[in-house]
């Protein structure tokens, strides 16, 4: 039922937005898009290298040819599986007791909710505008590690495909962790847009992305987002 009440709140919010849209001098717009992600942040997500998401924006006039845009948005940062290490078929002696070997796969993915404030200025070409501003976002990155860890006594093992601990393999453990970490950041965003028809616009924005995971400290990157916007 908790989820249902959350849904009810979302519905009420949308109803209020629709009501405002009809009464207020400004306008509401829905924007969806995505694009490549570069920089160190890309590596956090197994080099999947893109983001997708959507924004609900409220725009008011700020001058004859400029506007202020307030937005609430969501971004999904998908991650690819990344095989960090693997247990070799045979292991040479290290004479270190205990020694550890892992097959470890990591998959991290992030979700950001942000609010944004942008200044939007019409450009010299009809329908074209540029915009810049800031996003205050909270990003939660989930990092799932799966795999196997074996503990040996440091002696050579010719074939690690054993199912049970043996004289040289002291223990076999699973790696099955699901951790997450949230971080908050204010990041700049800059972009250009083009309005067409009576309610549509295409935008290209560049935004800074900052993420950190339970395994990796803060990493930054740049995302380019091609978005399609429709005004209610």
């Amino acid at each position: 039922m908790k989820v249902f009440f959350n849904l009810a709140r979302v519905g009420a919010l949308l109803a209020a937005a629709a009501s405002l849209s009809a009464q207020a001098p400004g306008s509401f717009a829905f924007k969806m898009g995505g694009g490549p992600l570069g920089g160190q942040a890309k590596g956090v997500f197994g080099n999947a290298g893109y983001t997708v998401g959507a924004d609900l924006e409220y725009t008011t006039k700020f001058g004859s040819d400029s506007r202020l845009v307030y937005g609430f948005g969501y971004r999904y940062l998908p991650g690819d599986n990344d095989l960090l290490s693997f247990i070799p078929f045979s292991i040479a002696a290290t004479n270190v007791n205990p020694s550890y070997y892992e097959t470890r796969n990591r998959k991290a993915e992030g979700q950001t909710f942000h609010i944004a404030a942008l200044y939007r200025q019409d450009a010299w070409l009809d329908g074209v505008y540029w915009q810049g501003g800031l996003r205050l976002g909270r990003t939660r990155v989930k990092s799932v590690d799966t795999g196997t860890r074996i503990t040996t006594n440091g002696q050579a093992i010719s074939n690690t495909t054993t199912t049970t601990p043996s004289a040289n393999i002291l223990a076999i453990d699973s790696i099955a962790t699901n951790e997450s970490k949230a971080s908050t950041a204010i990041t700049p965003v800059l972009g250009v847009g083009y309005r067409f028809g009576d309610k549509y616009a295409l935008e290209l924005n560049a935004a800074n992305v900052t993420v950190s995971t339970p395994k990796v400290s803060s990493k930054s990157g740049l995302s380019f987002e091609l978005s399609f916007s429709v005004t209610f």
Binding site: V3, F4, L7, A8, V10, G11, L14, A15, A18, S19, A22, F30, M32, A48, V52, A54, Y76, P78, D80, N81, L83, F86, I87, P88, F89, S90, T103, N105, K107, V144, T146, G147, T148, T160, T161, T163, T164, P165, A171, I172, D173, S174, I175, A176, T177, N178, F196, G197, K199, Y200, F228, V230, F232
Partner: protein
């Protein structure tokens, strides 16, 4: 139906109007609206005439005192509405009506000052709020435009929001089990009896499909017998003018890109034709034609498939020169050993539909199809080097339906429909051959080889049928103090049946012997050979029918209290019953499911519509489940030893029952028959959904809709095993033989959890008359602690959940449910999914039509779990011994292992992937209405290979200890660097995104 000379998407746009749409098991739509003056004053007693290429004759309705009109039971298609009244300007509008839609088209008029003139009304229609469903509709135009070359129900459904791929590649709708959906053709059931799924293309030609409707949450009480969703396809009906499509689809393996080989380069790419240097050409030819037999009275639609015969090469088994009989003696070697044979397949298909209008208000529709696939020289299964084991196979799929729909005045309409779907397989060995009795011979390589006759039996066909009976009456009330009501009352019966004796041989007898001598005589022993004793297996077969029936009745009322508020109240009663092959009732239970929805239209113009609903959907106890408790496909079999050792039994001697010891002394095993017991009050599973939605309609027909839903399942059926719960099997063939076995009992189990939450968005934006941008996105989670008796894979339709299987033994050994039934993500979970398309259509002044469509698909990665098979049988045996069981040792083999989870269920997840598909179409006028067309469909147009999955193999085999030190074991990588194996590695089959091309060409008229 004629093919309209469309130039743009202005009409097509409305077809994709998805969202809160109306009634299940339906094949029609409804148009309503009002006629007003520009100052808002209603125009009463005006006549609205509806005409359409899809409608026989005209439909005339009158406006009431509020200026409102309603035309129910209209076939889907493009309609012209003409409003006229003396003294007023005659106005006209055109709308495109989709299946199941309730479309609103308001009309404006003015008082005529001179002679009556015609004014074309340009405002767009919208889905009316009395259309309560959450659904997505795909019209013929859209299906023609988007980059899809086949119109299988599942293929199309996967383009809709909330639809994902679940167990064994079958479809999941809003988190349902793959067996929890309903597949309809013209509103009647066509799902396979065993898995309760259907692609549908065995009953129609792609070009025959006029509409496909995917109902994620119908809400209306008319819809039932599912816990997921409904997929409904409507076929074309013909028209007053002749129309049709003659199509050839062509593709070659040369046109496909070869997948990267990843870390396993020695693994062949999935399109193996390239590896072999072959350029495999695939061709299909179809014809669909429709037209009038008697204009405005009788229309026809006919279609056929004409595919070239396909052939595959096979090779008879070659045991090898050193392989002897199992006792080491020389064996018979036939000259066909290792020789090639050719298996050919021919397909014939015919489909027809007649639509007869008694008057424009009363229509009868009769339809049917038959597909027969004949396979010659089919090898079936098993080892053989005897040509006599090849046989023919016929797979037949038939569908027949009849429907009546009638409009009884302004306020009442009635529909009735019946259909019968029959799937038949006739395959295997036949009688009246030189040697009828199939004999399985064990050779020294420990494999059985088959002789004399084919596997299975072609004596009795396997039949799976489904009959749907449905009727409903809809009453549209006038406006009262308690609002305006749309009351729908109906009854539905879905009866499915299976006839299958599942005979393994045409004689109903199987014989297993130890050798075949060079002279063709047989070697059979009672003891002392590798097989441990040769035996005859006698089957008590039954070709009688086992049935499962769902009887349902409903009452639904959509109440419009004011222009802003609407409430829907519905109640549905579902009764489930099943009978076994002996006609004995095995199950009888019932459920009541309430439906509720409230709709708020704040501006009273449908520009914004807000909705909330709560609905319970009750599923069916489908055949795949109910036949477990019958002899259908499950004959009792008993095995007996041969009387004496013999090294040269002739065929006549070995097939003489007198040679076998059919007595308590010779008895060695019993198998088959219903070994599980079902609670006769077992309930059909149900799902309760709470949902919210907000939809914005623009005046040009564009829309966007946001939905959120939570669905919770209840009453899954499950199997239970308990130490000491045993039963006695008494021989059918020899009185006095009694065998004690372990019982399995099925009953409703609410410990099996399944929860689905989602947020969906669906939209259509008309960018300009030629260009539209549409699609959908779904964010969802599907979690639970078991699959709840859903399919166990490709070949098993229902498997019991681990929960309930010897729970007490787990607990006694210190294991809680987190070991064997943890909560987590279930198969079918897909966090993110999107389908977006950009469609372009333009017709030149000379009539040349160009279409283009770019489809973007985003597919979230599926889940996998970290598991290991762990010894359980020894624990069960010990527990059974302690409990005093006389068959304690049976427990060890009954349930040898359990699956242990490491971490939560569905902890791991594969990569998300995305791709673009492109379709370009060109249609050129040739003569009169004859047009030539070429369509080029490129899947994965950018050829963007992505690694989607990887090996999740644990170490092969069963771990033979329960030691806690022996954890999850990812298979180590091999030492061979050219063919690495093991967990985390990936090869050609783990990539998606490779380009492939289909060329389609032909004529339309």
């Amino acid at each position: 139906m004629t093919i309209p000379n469309r130039t743009t998407f202005t009409a097509l746009a409305f077809l994709l109007a998805a969202g809160p749409a109306a009634v299940a098991q339906e094949s029609t739509g409804q148009i309503l609206g009002s006629l007003r003056l520009k100052d808002g004053k209603a125009v009463a007693n005006a006549t609205i005439i509806l005409t359409s290429p899809a409608l026989q004759g005209q439909r005339r309705v009158a406006t009431d005192s509020a200026g409102a009109f309603r035309a129910p039971l209209l076939p889907p298609g493009r309609y012209t509405l003409t409003a006229s009244k003396d003294g007023f300007v005659t106005t006209r509008a055109e709308v495109e009506l989709g299946v199941g839609q309730i479309l609103r088209q308001d009309l404006l008029t003015a008082e005529a000052v001179a002679a009556t003139t015609v004014e074309v009304v340009a405002t767009a229609s919208t889905v009316d709020k009395t259309d309560v469903k959450q659904s997505t509709a795909f019209s013929d135009d859209v299906l023609n435009t988007i980059p899809r070359t086949v119109r299988s129900l599942t293929n199309i459904a996967l383009l809709a929001p909330g639809v994902t791929t679940g167990i064994a590649g079958r479809v999941t709708i809003r988190g349902s089990q793959t067996t929890g959906n309903r597949y309809l053709l013209n509103g009647t059931d066509i799902a396979d009896n065993v898995f309760n799924v259907s692609g549908g293309r065995q009953y129609y030609v792609d070009d025959s499909i006029d509409q496909v409707q995917v109902l994620q949450s119908p809400v209306h009480a008319r819809y039932g017998n599912f816990t997921g969703g409904v997929i409904n396809a409507i076929t074309k009906s013909g028209g007053n003018e002749f129309s049709g499509v003659l199509r050839a689809n062509i593709n070659r393996t040369d046109w496909s890109a070869a997948a990267p080989r990843g870390l396993r380069p020695a693994v062949a790419p999935s399109n193996s034709g390239l590896t072999n240097g072959e350029d495999i050409l695939s061709r299909t030819y179809t014809l669909q034609v429709g037209g009038p037999i008697w204009k405005d009275r009788i229309w026809f639609n006919f279609s056929t498939k004409q595919n070239p015969q396909s052939a595959t090469q096979g090779t008879f088994s070659a045991p090898g020169p050193t392989t002897t009989n199992s006792d080491g003696s020389p064996r018979l070697t036939l000259p066909t050993e290792g020789a090639a044979y050719t298996t050919t397949t021919d397909l014939t298909f015919y489909e027809g539909k007649l639509t007869f209008a008694i008057t424009s208000d009363h229509t009868i529709e009769v339809g049917g199809s038959k597909q027969k696939q004949h396979t010659a020289n089919s090898p079936f299964i098993g080892n053989s080097y005897d040509p006599d084991t090849l046989s023919d196979r016929d797979d037949t799929n038939e569908y027949r339906s009849i429907a009546y729909r009638g409009v009884l005045g302004n306020n009442l309409s009635i529909e009735a429909r019946y259909s019968n779907k029959i799937d038949e397989i006739l395959s295997g060995g036949k009688l009246n051959r030189p040697r009828n009795q199939r004999i399985d011979v064990l050779l020294s390589n420990l494999a059985y080889y088959r002789f004399n006759n084919a596997t299975f039996s072609a004596v009795n066909p396997l039949e799976r049928n489904a009959k749907t009976y449905t009727a409903n009456v809809t009453w549209y009330s006038p406006t009262t103090a308690f609002g305006q009501h749309i009351v729908d009352v109906g009854y539905e019966r879905v009866r499915t049946g299976q006839k299958s004796d599942n005979a393994q041989t045409p004689t109903g007898i199987r014989m297993f012997v130890s050798g075949i001598n060079p002279d063709g005589t047989y070697r059979a022993f009672r003891s002392g050979v590798p097989s441990g004793g040769d035996n005859i297996e006698l089957s008590l077969t039954s070709a009688a029918e086992a049935t499962s029936v769902a009887d349902s009745a409903w009452l639904n009322d959509v109440i419009t209290f004011s222009p802003s508020w609407q409430v829907m109240l519905g109640l549905r009663y579902d009764k489930a019953s099943a009978t076994d092959t002996l006609g004995t009732k095995t199950i009888s239970s019932n459920k009541v499911s309430p439906r509720f929805q409230v709709t708020f239209d704040p501006f009273q113009d449908q520009s914004w519509i807000f909705r909330g609903h709560a609905a319970t959907y009750v599923g069916r106890l489908h055949d795949g489940f109910t036949t477990r408790f019958t002899y259908s496909g499950n004959p009792v079999r008993e095995g007996y030893l041969i009387k004496t050792n013999g090294t040269a039994y002739t065929y006549d001697q070995i097939t003489n029952l007198a040679s076998w010891d059919i007595s308590p002394n010779g008895f060695i095993y019993a198998a088959g028959g219903p070994t599980s017991f079902v609670d006769p009050n077992i309930k059909a599973p149900s799902a309760t959904e709470f949902g919210l939605s907000a939809r914005h309609n623009w005046k040009d027909g564009s829309f966007i809709e946001f939905r959120a839903a939570r669905r919770v399942w209840k009453d899954f059926y499950n199997d239970f095993n308990v130490i000491g719960d045993e039963y006695a099997y008494n021989s059918v063939i020899v009185p006095g033989i009694s065998v004690r076995n372990i019982s399995t009992r099925w009953r409703t189990d609410d410990r099996v959890k399944r929860h689905y939450n989602n947020a969906e968005m669906e939209f259509l934006f008309i960018l300009n008359p030629q260009l539209q941008f549409g699609g959908n996105y779904t964010y969802a989670t599907l979690k639970g602690n078991g699959e709840g008796g859903d399919s166990g894979g490709a070949n098993v339709s229902v498997t019991g959940d681990t929960l309930g299987d010897f729970d007490a033994v787990h607990q006694a050994n210190g294991r809680d449910e987190s070991y064997y039934a943890p909560y987590g993500f279930l198969a079918g979970d897909q966090s993110h999914k999107a389908s977006l398309y950009l469609n372009y259509m333009n017709r030149s002044e000379k009539g040349t039509l160009f279409t283009g469509s770019l489809l973007f698909n985003y597919t979230g990665g599926g889940v996998y779990s970290l598991t290991r098979s762990t010894v359980f049988g020894s624990e069960l045996q010990a527990a059974a011994t302690a409990a005093g069981s006389t068959i304690a040792s049976q427990y060890a083999s009954f349930y040898p292992n359990y699956t242990r989870y490491f971490g939560e269920r569905g902890l791991g997840r594969f990569n998300d992937t995305f791709n673009f598909d492109l379709k370009l179409g060109l249609e050129v006028p040739i003569w009169s209405k004859l047009r030539g067309f070429v369509e080029l469909t490129v899947f994965n147009v950018f050829n963007h290979w992505q690694r989607a999955t990887f090996s999740t193999s644990t170490l092969a085999g069963t771990v033979t200890t329960t030691s806690p030190l022996s954890g999850y074991r990812a298979l180590p990588w091999g030492t061979n660097t050219t063919n690495l194996t093991g967990w985390g590695t990936y090869g050609a089959a783990d990539y998606v995104g490779g380009r492939s091309v289909v060329l389609s060409t032909g004529f339309k008229w």
